[in-house]
Symmetry: none
Subunit: 212 residues, 2 copies
Amino acid sequence: MEIKVAIFEDNKILRQSLQQLIDNAEGMVCTGAFGDANRIVRNIQLAAPDVVLMDINMPGTSGIEAVQILKEKFPQVQILMQTVFEENDKIFAAICSGASGYMLKKTGPQKMIEAIHETYQGGAPMTASVAVKVLQMFRLQSPAQKHEFVDLSEREKEILALLVKGKSYKAIASDCFISIDTVSTHVRHIYEKLRVHSKSEAVAKAINQKLV
Amino acid sequence: MEIKVAIFEDNKILRQSLQQLIDNAEGMVCTGAFGDANRIVRNIQLAAPDVVLMDINMPGTSGIEAVQILKEKFPQVQILMQTVFEENDKIFAAICSGASGYMLKKTGPQKMIEAIHETYQGGAPMTASVAVKVLQMFRLQSPAQKHEFVDLSEREKEILALLVKGKSYKAIASDCFISIDTVSTHVRHIYEKLRVHSKSEAVAKAINQKLV
DNA sequence: AAGAAAATCACCAGTTCAGGTGATTGACTC
DNA sequence: GAGTCAATCACCTGAACTGGTGATTTTCTT
Protein backbone atom coordinates (compact mmCIF):
# COMPACT_ATOMS: atom_id res chain seq x y z
CA MET A 1 0.00 0.00 0.00
CA GLU A 2 1.33 3.41 -0.95
CA ILE A 3 1.83 6.20 1.55
CA LYS A 4 -0.66 8.99 0.92
CA VAL A 5 0.87 12.40 1.33
CA ALA A 6 -0.83 15.82 1.49
CA ILE A 7 1.07 19.06 1.04
CA PHE A 8 0.38 22.46 2.58
CA GLU A 9 2.71 25.05 1.12
CA ASP A 10 1.92 28.57 -0.05
CA ASN A 11 4.74 28.82 -2.57
CA LYS A 12 3.30 27.43 -5.79
CA ILE A 13 6.60 26.43 -7.37
CA LEU A 14 7.76 24.59 -4.30
CA ARG A 15 4.36 22.98 -3.86
CA GLN A 16 4.38 21.62 -7.40
CA SER A 17 7.93 20.36 -7.21
CA LEU A 18 7.20 18.59 -3.95
CA GLN A 19 4.14 17.02 -5.52
CA GLN A 20 6.23 15.78 -8.45
CA LEU A 21 8.92 14.49 -6.15
CA ILE A 22 6.43 12.49 -4.16
CA ASP A 23 4.50 11.15 -7.13
CA ASN A 24 7.72 9.99 -8.76
CA ALA A 25 8.98 8.31 -5.62
CA GLU A 26 8.51 4.63 -4.96
CA GLY A 27 5.75 3.71 -2.53
CA MET A 28 4.10 7.09 -2.10
CA VAL A 29 1.53 9.26 -3.78
CA CYS A 30 0.41 12.85 -3.32
CA THR A 31 -3.34 12.96 -2.69
CA GLY A 32 -3.61 16.70 -2.21
CA ALA A 33 -1.60 19.90 -2.47
CA PHE A 34 -2.95 23.08 -0.94
CA GLY A 35 -1.77 26.69 -0.83
CA ASP A 36 -3.10 27.42 2.64
CA ALA A 37 -4.54 25.75 5.71
CA ASN A 38 -7.78 27.67 5.77
CA ARG A 39 -10.21 24.88 4.99
CA ILE A 40 -7.92 22.27 6.41
CA VAL A 41 -10.50 19.93 7.89
CA ARG A 42 -12.33 19.50 4.63
CA ASN A 43 -9.14 19.29 2.63
CA ILE A 44 -7.78 16.58 4.87
CA GLN A 45 -11.01 14.64 4.56
CA LEU A 46 -10.67 14.87 0.79
CA ALA A 47 -7.01 13.90 0.64
CA ALA A 48 -7.16 11.32 3.44
CA PRO A 49 -3.38 11.37 3.84
CA ASP A 50 -1.14 9.24 6.03
CA VAL A 51 1.48 11.95 6.19
CA VAL A 52 1.10 15.73 5.91
CA LEU A 53 3.88 18.02 4.77
CA MET A 54 3.18 21.31 6.48
CA ASP A 55 4.86 24.62 5.80
CA ILE A 56 5.20 26.60 9.01
CA ASN A 57 4.77 30.06 7.51
CA MET A 58 1.60 30.46 5.54
CA PRO A 59 -0.89 33.27 5.03
CA GLY A 60 -4.09 32.80 6.99
CA THR A 61 -4.06 29.84 9.34
CA SER A 62 -0.42 29.27 10.33
CA GLY A 63 1.25 25.90 10.10
CA ILE A 64 1.37 25.65 13.87
CA GLU A 65 -2.36 26.25 14.24
CA ALA A 66 -2.97 23.75 11.48
CA VAL A 67 -0.98 21.13 13.38
CA GLN A 68 -3.05 21.73 16.47
CA ILE A 69 -6.28 21.33 14.54
CA LEU A 70 -5.05 18.23 12.74
CA LYS A 71 -3.77 16.52 15.85
CA GLU A 72 -7.08 17.11 17.53
CA LYS A 73 -9.33 15.95 14.70
CA PHE A 74 -7.12 13.42 12.92
CA PRO A 75 -4.65 12.19 15.51
CA GLN A 76 -3.52 9.26 13.35
CA VAL A 77 -2.14 11.59 10.66
CA GLN A 78 1.61 12.12 11.00
CA ILE A 79 2.89 15.61 10.36
CA LEU A 80 6.24 16.64 8.96
CA MET A 81 6.98 20.33 9.34
CA GLN A 82 8.87 22.30 6.73
CA THR A 83 10.46 25.66 7.17
CA VAL A 84 13.14 27.94 5.84
CA PHE A 85 14.36 29.26 9.18
CA GLU A 86 15.39 27.51 12.34
CA GLU A 87 13.56 29.64 14.88
CA ASN A 88 13.64 28.21 18.36
CA ASP A 89 10.15 29.20 19.31
CA LYS A 90 8.64 27.89 16.09
CA ILE A 91 10.37 24.56 16.50
CA PHE A 92 9.27 24.43 20.08
CA ALA A 93 5.66 25.28 19.26
CA ALA A 94 5.48 22.81 16.38
CA ILE A 95 6.78 19.93 18.46
CA CYS A 96 4.54 20.71 21.39
CA SER A 97 1.55 20.93 19.06
CA GLY A 98 2.25 17.42 17.88
CA ALA A 99 4.42 17.55 14.77
CA SER A 100 6.41 14.35 14.25
CA GLY A 101 9.34 15.73 12.32
CA TYR A 102 10.95 18.97 11.37
CA MET A 103 12.91 19.47 8.15
CA LEU A 104 14.48 22.53 6.60
CA LYS A 105 13.35 23.27 3.05
CA LYS A 106 16.89 23.17 1.80
CA THR A 107 16.89 19.43 2.49
CA GLY A 108 17.67 17.42 -0.65
CA PRO A 109 14.95 15.43 -2.41
CA GLN A 110 16.38 12.04 -1.46
CA LYS A 111 16.50 13.00 2.23
CA MET A 112 13.00 14.39 1.95
CA ILE A 113 11.62 11.10 0.66
CA GLU A 114 13.45 9.26 3.42
CA ALA A 115 11.99 11.63 6.00
CA ILE A 116 8.47 11.00 4.73
CA HIS A 117 8.98 7.26 4.99
CA GLU A 118 10.40 7.65 8.46
CA THR A 119 7.48 9.84 9.51
CA TYR A 120 5.02 7.27 8.21
CA GLN A 121 6.77 4.56 10.21
CA GLY A 122 6.34 6.57 13.40
CA GLY A 123 9.82 8.06 13.41
CA ALA A 124 10.87 11.62 14.10
CA PRO A 125 13.10 12.82 11.30
CA MET A 126 14.84 16.07 12.00
CA THR A 127 17.35 18.12 10.12
CA ALA A 128 20.64 17.92 12.03
CA SER A 129 20.57 21.55 13.13
CA VAL A 130 17.04 21.16 14.41
CA ALA A 131 17.93 18.05 16.37
CA VAL A 132 20.74 19.95 18.01
CA LYS A 133 18.39 22.76 18.98
CA VAL A 134 15.91 20.32 20.43
CA LEU A 135 18.56 18.75 22.62
CA GLN A 136 19.73 22.17 23.72
CA MET A 137 16.23 23.18 24.70
CA PHE A 138 15.88 19.89 26.47
CA ARG A 139 18.95 20.54 28.55
CA LEU A 140 17.83 24.04 29.41
CA GLN A 141 14.44 22.96 30.59
CA SER A 142 15.23 20.30 33.08
CA PRO A 143 18.42 20.62 35.02
CA ALA A 144 17.60 24.03 36.45
CA GLN A 145 17.09 22.95 40.01
CA LYS A 146 19.78 21.85 42.37
CA HIS A 147 17.67 20.48 45.17
CA GLU A 148 19.05 22.25 48.18
CA PHE A 149 17.69 19.50 50.34
CA VAL A 150 15.03 21.23 52.36
CA ASP A 151 13.68 18.89 54.94
CA LEU A 152 10.12 20.03 55.53
CA SER A 153 7.76 18.00 57.68
CA GLU A 154 4.56 16.64 56.16
CA ARG A 155 2.53 19.32 57.82
CA GLU A 156 4.85 22.02 56.62
CA LYS A 157 4.69 20.77 53.05
CA GLU A 158 0.93 20.73 53.26
CA ILE A 159 0.82 24.30 54.46
CA LEU A 160 3.39 25.43 51.92
CA ALA A 161 1.25 23.95 49.17
CA LEU A 162 -1.73 25.96 50.37
CA LEU A 163 0.39 29.10 50.52
CA VAL A 164 1.38 28.51 46.90
CA LYS A 165 -2.29 28.32 46.02
CA GLY A 166 -2.61 31.83 47.39
CA LYS A 167 -4.52 31.00 50.55
CA SER A 168 -4.42 33.29 53.55
CA TYR A 169 -3.44 32.09 57.02
CA LYS A 170 -7.07 32.18 57.98
CA ALA A 171 -8.11 30.01 55.05
CA ILE A 172 -5.30 27.57 55.77
CA ALA A 173 -6.30 27.40 59.42
CA SER A 174 -9.83 26.45 58.47
CA ASP A 175 -8.69 24.03 55.75
CA CYS A 176 -6.40 22.21 58.16
CA PHE A 177 -8.67 22.52 61.17
CA ILE A 178 -6.00 24.27 63.20
CA SER A 179 -5.81 27.74 64.65
CA ILE A 180 -4.40 30.69 62.82
CA ASP A 181 -1.61 30.94 65.35
CA THR A 182 -0.51 27.42 64.60
CA VAL A 183 -0.44 28.27 60.92
CA SER A 184 1.69 31.24 61.74
CA THR A 185 4.13 29.05 63.67
CA HIS A 186 4.39 26.52 60.87
CA VAL A 187 4.97 29.25 58.36
CA ARG A 188 7.76 30.62 60.51
CA HIS A 189 9.42 27.21 60.56
CA ILE A 190 9.03 26.96 56.81
CA TYR A 191 10.68 30.35 56.37
CA GLU A 192 13.59 29.28 58.56
CA LYS A 193 14.13 26.09 56.60
CA LEU A 194 13.86 27.81 53.23
CA ARG A 195 15.84 30.78 54.54
CA VAL A 196 13.30 33.31 53.28
CA HIS A 197 11.40 36.12 54.95
CA SER A 198 8.12 36.50 53.14
CA LYS A 199 5.25 34.57 51.69
CA SER A 200 6.11 35.44 48.14
CA GLU A 201 9.73 34.35 48.47
CA ALA A 202 8.58 31.09 49.96
CA VAL A 203 6.11 30.57 47.12
CA ALA A 204 8.71 31.35 44.49
CA LYS A 205 11.22 28.97 46.05
CA ALA A 206 8.62 26.25 46.46
CA ILE A 207 7.69 26.38 42.79
CA ASN A 208 11.18 26.75 41.43
CA GLN A 209 12.52 23.88 43.47
CA LYS A 210 9.43 21.80 42.91
CA LEU A 211 8.85 21.40 46.65
CA VAL A 212 5.15 21.17 46.01
CA MET B 1 42.28 15.97 8.54
CA GLU B 2 40.87 12.71 9.75
CA ILE B 3 38.33 12.48 12.54
CA LYS B 4 39.87 10.88 15.60
CA VAL B 5 37.49 8.49 17.32
CA ALA B 6 37.81 6.81 20.72
CA ILE B 7 35.69 3.84 21.73
CA PHE B 8 34.44 2.88 25.18
CA GLU B 9 32.73 -0.48 25.05
CA ASP B 10 33.01 -3.40 27.44
CA ASN B 11 32.14 -6.11 24.93
CA LYS B 12 35.44 -7.09 23.34
CA ILE B 13 34.01 -8.43 20.09
CA LEU B 14 31.90 -5.36 19.49
CA ARG B 15 34.76 -3.08 20.46
CA GLN B 16 37.08 -4.67 17.94
CA SER B 17 34.54 -4.66 15.16
CA LEU B 18 33.79 -0.99 15.78
CA GLN B 19 37.48 -0.25 15.68
CA GLN B 20 37.82 -2.06 12.36
CA LEU B 21 34.78 -0.33 10.97
CA ILE B 22 36.17 3.09 11.84
CA ASP B 23 39.71 2.39 10.67
CA ASN B 24 38.38 1.15 7.35
CA ALA B 25 36.13 4.14 6.85
CA GLU B 26 37.14 7.17 4.83
CA GLY B 27 38.21 10.20 6.79
CA MET B 28 38.33 8.71 10.26
CA VAL B 29 40.67 6.78 12.47
CA CYS B 30 40.33 5.06 15.83
CA THR B 31 42.89 6.43 18.27
CA GLY B 32 41.81 4.39 21.26
CA ALA B 33 39.50 1.55 22.26
CA PHE B 34 38.84 0.89 25.93
CA GLY B 35 36.86 -1.73 27.82
CA ASP B 36 35.79 0.57 30.63
CA ALA B 37 35.67 4.22 31.63
CA ASN B 38 37.65 3.87 34.81
CA ARG B 39 40.76 5.82 33.89
CA ILE B 40 38.90 7.92 31.41
CA VAL B 41 40.74 11.21 31.84
CA ARG B 42 44.11 9.67 31.12
CA ASN B 43 42.77 7.55 28.31
CA ILE B 44 41.19 10.56 26.65
CA GLN B 45 44.43 12.48 26.94
CA LEU B 46 46.21 9.59 25.24
CA ALA B 47 43.67 9.14 22.46
CA ALA B 48 42.96 12.87 21.99
CA PRO B 49 39.73 12.10 20.09
CA ASP B 50 37.32 14.44 18.32
CA VAL B 51 34.45 12.05 18.82
CA VAL B 52 33.87 9.47 21.55
CA LEU B 53 31.68 6.41 21.10
CA MET B 54 30.39 5.63 24.56
CA ASP B 55 28.55 2.53 25.64
CA ILE B 56 25.95 3.39 28.25
CA ASN B 57 26.17 0.18 30.24
CA MET B 58 29.65 -0.61 31.43
CA PRO B 59 31.09 -2.17 34.55
CA GLY B 60 32.66 0.38 36.89
CA THR B 61 32.15 3.98 35.82
CA SER B 62 28.90 4.09 33.85
CA GLY B 63 28.64 5.69 30.45
CA ILE B 64 26.53 8.50 31.89
CA GLU B 65 29.08 9.35 34.54
CA ALA B 66 31.79 9.22 31.93
CA VAL B 67 29.88 11.74 29.82
CA GLN B 68 29.63 14.10 32.75
CA ILE B 69 33.34 13.85 33.42
CA LEU B 70 34.23 14.29 29.76
CA LYS B 71 31.96 17.27 29.22
CA GLU B 72 33.47 18.96 32.23
CA LYS B 73 37.12 18.32 31.43
CA PHE B 74 37.07 18.14 27.62
CA PRO B 75 34.01 20.11 26.53
CA GLN B 76 35.13 20.21 22.90
CA VAL B 77 34.90 16.42 22.57
CA GLN B 78 31.62 15.30 21.00
CA ILE B 79 30.01 12.21 22.46
CA LEU B 80 27.88 9.65 20.68
CA MET B 81 26.09 7.28 23.03
CA GLN B 82 25.52 3.66 22.18
CA THR B 83 23.13 1.32 23.85
CA VAL B 84 21.13 -1.83 23.37
CA PHE B 85 17.96 -0.69 25.09
CA GLU B 86 15.86 2.42 24.70
CA GLU B 87 15.31 3.29 28.31
CA ASN B 88 13.69 6.67 28.82
CA ASP B 89 15.63 7.62 31.89
CA LYS B 90 18.98 6.62 30.40
CA ILE B 91 18.29 8.63 27.27
CA PHE B 92 17.21 11.53 29.40
CA ALA B 93 20.27 11.36 31.64
CA ALA B 94 22.68 11.02 28.73
CA ILE B 95 21.27 14.03 26.91
CA CYS B 96 21.21 16.18 30.01
CA SER B 97 24.79 15.19 30.78
CA GLY B 98 25.85 16.49 27.41
CA ALA B 99 25.83 13.63 24.92
CA SER B 100 25.42 14.84 21.34
CA GLY B 101 23.83 11.78 19.79
CA TYR B 102 22.21 8.55 20.75
CA MET B 103 22.34 5.43 18.57
CA LEU B 104 21.15 1.90 19.16
CA LYS B 105 23.79 -0.79 18.72
CA LYS B 106 21.73 -2.56 16.12
CA THR B 107 22.37 0.40 13.80
CA GLY B 108 24.02 -0.69 10.57
CA PRO B 109 27.71 0.08 9.91
CA GLN B 110 26.97 2.61 7.16
CA LYS B 111 24.58 4.55 9.41
CA MET B 112 27.10 4.37 12.22
CA ILE B 113 29.80 6.02 10.11
CA GLU B 114 27.32 8.68 9.04
CA ALA B 115 26.39 9.31 12.63
CA ILE B 116 30.04 9.78 13.61
CA HIS B 117 30.50 12.29 10.81
CA GLU B 118 27.36 14.10 11.84
CA THR B 119 28.46 14.18 15.47
CA TYR B 120 31.82 15.61 14.46
CA GLN B 121 30.08 18.34 12.49
CA GLY B 122 28.08 19.36 15.56
CA GLY B 123 24.94 17.48 14.66
CA ALA B 124 22.76 15.33 16.89
CA PRO B 125 22.25 11.96 15.22
CA MET B 126 19.60 9.86 16.85
CA THR B 127 18.12 6.51 16.04
CA ALA B 128 14.53 7.08 14.93
CA SER B 129 13.00 5.47 17.99
CA VAL B 130 15.16 7.58 20.27
CA ALA B 131 14.21 10.78 18.47
CA VAL B 132 10.56 9.91 18.97
CA LYS B 133 11.12 9.38 22.68
CA VAL B 134 12.92 12.67 22.99
CA LEU B 135 10.04 14.53 21.38
CA GLN B 136 7.59 12.73 23.63
CA MET B 137 9.52 13.72 26.72
CA PHE B 138 9.70 17.22 25.37
CA ARG B 139 5.95 17.44 25.03
CA LEU B 140 5.39 16.08 28.50
CA GLN B 141 7.68 18.59 30.11
CA SER B 142 6.41 21.84 28.78
CA PRO B 143 2.87 22.16 27.57
CA ALA B 144 1.25 22.12 31.00
CA GLN B 145 0.23 25.76 30.84
CA LYS B 146 -1.99 27.43 28.33
CA HIS B 147 -0.76 30.98 28.24
CA GLU B 148 -3.87 32.95 29.06
CA PHE B 149 -2.45 35.97 27.33
CA VAL B 150 -2.12 38.50 30.08
CA ASP B 151 -1.30 41.89 28.72
CA LEU B 152 0.83 43.54 31.38
CA SER B 153 2.54 46.86 30.73
CA GLU B 154 6.33 47.05 30.90
CA ARG B 155 6.20 48.68 34.28
CA GLU B 156 3.82 46.06 35.58
CA LYS B 157 6.04 43.24 34.38
CA GLU B 158 9.00 44.88 36.05
CA ILE B 159 7.16 45.14 39.34
CA LEU B 160 5.80 41.62 39.06
CA ALA B 161 9.34 40.34 38.59
CA LEU B 162 10.41 42.08 41.77
CA LEU B 163 7.43 40.65 43.63
CA VAL B 164 8.48 37.19 42.51
CA LYS B 165 11.91 37.85 43.95
CA GLY B 166 10.18 38.37 47.27
CA LYS B 167 10.64 42.12 47.55
CA SER B 168 8.30 44.20 49.68
CA TYR B 169 6.41 47.18 48.31
CA LYS B 170 8.90 49.41 50.07
CA ALA B 171 11.88 47.71 48.46
CA ILE B 172 10.23 47.85 45.04
CA ALA B 173 9.49 51.54 45.50
CA SER B 174 13.12 52.28 46.20
CA ASP B 175 14.35 49.98 43.41
CA CYS B 176 12.11 51.69 40.86
CA PHE B 177 12.48 55.19 42.29
CA ILE B 178 8.73 55.53 42.74
CA SER B 179 6.60 55.94 45.82
CA ILE B 180 5.16 53.05 47.74
CA ASP B 181 1.67 54.18 46.85
CA THR B 182 2.47 53.94 43.18
CA VAL B 183 3.74 50.44 43.71
CA SER B 184 0.52 49.62 45.45
CA THR B 185 -1.49 50.93 42.52
CA HIS B 186 0.54 48.95 40.00
CA VAL B 187 0.17 45.83 42.06
CA ARG B 188 -3.55 46.35 42.15
CA HIS B 189 -3.63 46.55 38.37
CA ILE B 190 -1.53 43.42 38.12
CA TYR B 191 -3.95 41.59 40.37
CA GLU B 192 -6.87 42.66 38.22
CA LYS B 193 -5.19 41.47 35.05
CA LEU B 194 -4.11 38.17 36.56
CA ARG B 195 -7.43 37.86 38.37
CA VAL B 196 -5.79 37.11 41.70
CA HIS B 197 -6.12 38.65 45.13
CA SER B 198 -2.81 38.23 46.88
CA LYS B 199 0.90 38.51 46.41
CA SER B 200 1.46 34.80 46.64
CA GLU B 201 -1.19 33.97 44.05
CA ALA B 202 0.34 36.52 41.72
CA VAL B 203 3.81 35.06 42.25
CA ALA B 204 2.59 31.51 41.66
CA LYS B 205 0.79 32.52 38.48
CA ALA B 206 3.74 34.53 37.24
CA ILE B 207 6.10 31.61 37.62
CA ASN B 208 3.76 28.94 36.32
CA GLN B 209 2.84 30.94 33.25
CA LYS B 210 6.39 32.12 32.72
CA LEU B 211 5.34 35.77 32.81
CA VAL B 212 8.71 36.67 34.24
C1' DA C 1 12.75 6.36 80.35
C1' DA C 2 14.93 10.44 78.61
C1' DG C 3 15.28 13.38 74.63
C1' DA C 4 14.08 15.18 70.19
C1' DA C 5 10.98 16.61 66.92
C1' DA C 6 6.36 17.66 65.19
C1' DA C 7 2.09 19.65 65.94
C1' DT C 8 -0.64 22.29 68.49
C1' DC C 9 -2.18 26.77 70.89
C1' DA C 10 -1.72 31.66 72.81
C1' DC C 11 -0.40 36.64 73.21
C1' DC C 12 1.64 40.61 71.26
C1' DA C 13 3.91 44.56 68.68
C1' DG C 14 5.05 46.43 64.59
C1' DT C 15 4.91 46.14 59.59
C1' DT C 16 2.91 45.15 55.32
C1' DC C 17 -0.75 44.47 52.29
C1' DA C 18 -5.50 44.85 49.82
C1' DG C 19 -8.57 47.59 48.02
C1' DG C 20 -11.27 51.90 47.85
C1' DT C 21 -11.31 56.91 46.38
C1' DG C 22 -9.44 60.64 43.94
C1' DA C 23 -6.01 63.35 41.08
C1' DT C 24 -2.17 64.85 37.74
C1' DT C 25 0.80 64.31 33.80
C1' DG C 26 2.23 62.85 29.22
C1' DA C 27 1.64 59.95 25.21
C1' DC C 28 -1.15 58.11 21.82
C1' DT C 29 -5.59 57.59 19.14
C1' DC C 30 -9.63 58.86 16.71
C1' DG D 1 -9.59 68.55 20.68
C1' DA D 2 -11.77 64.79 23.34
C1' DG D 3 -10.92 60.36 25.03
C1' DT D 4 -8.13 56.61 26.62
C1' DC D 5 -4.37 54.64 29.01
C1' DA D 6 0.10 54.17 31.50
C1' DA D 7 2.45 56.03 35.15
C1' DT D 8 2.64 58.67 38.92
C1' DC D 9 1.21 60.27 43.76
C1' DA D 10 -1.82 60.64 48.08
C1' DC D 11 -4.88 59.22 51.97
C1' DC D 12 -7.34 55.78 54.44
C1' DT D 13 -9.14 51.43 56.83
C1' DG D 14 -9.23 46.91 58.11
C1' DA D 15 -7.10 42.71 57.35
C1' DA D 16 -3.05 39.97 56.97
C1' DC D 17 1.57 39.00 57.87
C1' DT D 18 6.30 38.70 60.50
C1' DG D 19 8.62 37.42 64.20
C1' DG D 20 9.31 37.20 69.20
C1' DT D 21 7.99 34.75 73.59
C1' DG D 22 6.32 30.65 75.96
C1' DA D 23 3.71 26.19 76.57
C1' DT D 24 1.35 21.43 75.95
C1' DT D 25 0.70 16.95 73.77
C1' DT D 26 1.90 13.15 70.91
C1' DT D 27 5.06 10.41 68.60
C1' DC D 28 9.30 8.57 67.52
C1' DT D 29 14.14 7.50 68.53
C1' DT D 30 17.71 5.96 71.39
